[in-house]
């Protein structure tokens, strides 16, 4: 077995009580204090996440935009400099390679942020489809990412910089922001359903910034692990690759139609399959479910109506915010109407649940 990879912040985990796990080959903190406490901190104050394992790929050159238009489902031509966009890369049959953020850094210059477990697969795919005058560069190793999320995120981060962070609107960013002496790209984006920032910097600068943010935040900011990141994104119905999205699940099925511009004037990979699904409805749909009897739905648990298996759970837990046992499930479309009674197979028993509207949590 090869050694687990570590982020540049790794050596600082222990002093905050981190419990680490193997996450796709990375030794990452699943929690520091407790998943519930960290979850609550992000919903009410602020949380700090080390997400340096995420992948960053730079695309540069006169043909960079044409390339993005071909490999990604959203319309990257709509981006202005300083703006970010959620997008998806698909196979010709509409199955998902990865979901990603596209940052427009400048004319003919973009930054793509992809899932850690998919970096190699994505980069290979991109190289295979690169054409014309453009250069691709995988800068994942030299780039670190910290996320500060929660209603107090701006207050905390503002203490570290003269740049007016309130000017950065949702899904926009600023480059070369100086945060306690460290130059970073600061983006108003996140994976928690709260306001907050994702901060990209040189790998060697991440430990110092991690400490500065905790120091500036004091009681208002808690170090958070992947466990809370997962429950937070789940409540906000943000997809996780490998669960809500996969080689066998299209973004249309996952309810991400907003990021699939099937009528984009230039053709993209997967367009025909995705257009067909968007216009005629995909056979499966991702829905929210809530348990009506005792039990917690978990990833891959089968979902039934009577004797018919209609799909499976993609993510489920006891929602720390709602204190209810809820899940997301990919099921046959004819059963997707809210209120529909279904059953989840939990350890051999069929347990009653119903289809509910999502997200489970939306910030007010």
């Amino acid at each position: 077995m090869s050694a687990l990879k570590q982020t540049p912040v790794y050596s600082l985990y222990k002093e905050h009580g981190a419990k680490t796990i193997d996450f796709g080959g990375w030794d990452l903190p699943v929690q520091f204090s407790s998943i519930q406490k960290e979850h609550e901190a992000v919903r009410t104050k602020a949380g700090l996440f080390d997400v340096s394992h995420m992948g960053e790929i730079e695309v540069k050159g006169p043909d960079a935009l044409a390339f993005l238009q071909k490999i990604a489902t959203n319309d990257a031509s709509k981006l202005v400099e300083g703006q970010a966009q959620y997008s998806v890369m698909c196979y010709p049959d509409g199955g998902t390679i990865d979901d990603l953020l596209i940052y427009k850094l400048g004319d003919e210059h973009y930054l793509l942020v992809v899932n850690a477990a998919n970096i190699e697969k994505d980069y290979d795919w991109m190289q295979k489809h690169a054409e014309g005058n453009m250069v691709l560069r995988n800068i994942s190793e030299e780039t670190a990412q910290l996320a500060v999320q929660g209603p107090l995120a701006e207050t905390v981060l503002q203490k570290l910089t003269d740049t007016n962070l309130s000017e950065i609107r949702f899904f926009h960013f600023k480059q070369n922001v100086i945060l306690s002496g460290i130059s970073a790209l600061v983006s108003r984006t996140g994976y928690t359903g709260e306001d907050g920032f994702e901060i990209y910097m040189q790998a060697q600068d991440a430990p110092a910034l991690w400490n500065s943010i905790l120091e500036a935040g004091g009681e208002d900011v808690l170090p958070c692990g992947l466990g809370a990141r997962d429950t937070l994104r789940f409540e906000a119905r943000l997809p996780l690759y490998g669960q809500e999205l996969s080689r066998n699940i299209s973004p249309i099925e996952a309810g991400l139609g907003f990021a699939v511009k099937v009528d984009k004037p230039v053709p993209f990979i997967g367009q025909d399959a995705l257009k067909e699904q968007k216009e005629n409805g995909a056979p499966r749909k991702l829905v929210g479910i809530e348990m009506m009897e005792r039990g917690i739905p978990r990833t891959h648990y089968a979902v039934y109506v009577g004797e018919e298996k209609i799909g499976e759970v993609t993510t489920g837990t006891q929602s720390p915010t709602l204190k209810k046992s809820v899940g997301l499930a990919l099921i046959k479309r004819e059963y997707s109407e809210p209120g529909t009674e279904i059953e989840v197979e939990i350890r051999g028993k069929h347990v009653k649940a119903k289809v509910v509207r999502t997200p489970f949590y939306k910030r007010s």
Binding site: R294, I296, R347
Partner: protein, 130 residues
Amino acid sequence: MSQVQAELKYSKEHEWVEVLDNERVRVGITQFAQEQLGDIVFIELPEQGATVKVNESMGTVESVKAVSDIYSPVSGEIVEVNGELEEAPEAINGDAYGAGWMVVIKLADAAELDELMTAEQYEAFSKEEE
């Protein structure tokens, strides 16, 4: 809370066993086990009168993140169940050796107790698992 309690016996599946008298034992999961699980949000225990077998699953405990089996450390009959855990499973996190107790089992074979670890042995065992 301390990791182990001297008067208890322990299983390799991280259950503790308190000998109540010649034929009954009280069972729960250890401090080490609850720390590994994290915030416990759900528990499923056997019903009173159920028969359980040593080292076989007799229930489930779930944290926010994970699902774990509860293995019976002895064979016998369930004579008491801590019903309060159904509504408040977090008691296991807060007081694993006290309010977090799970069941009382009437022993089928008292000799099985000899297979369990002492506090000292368990402490060494759980350190290795860490």
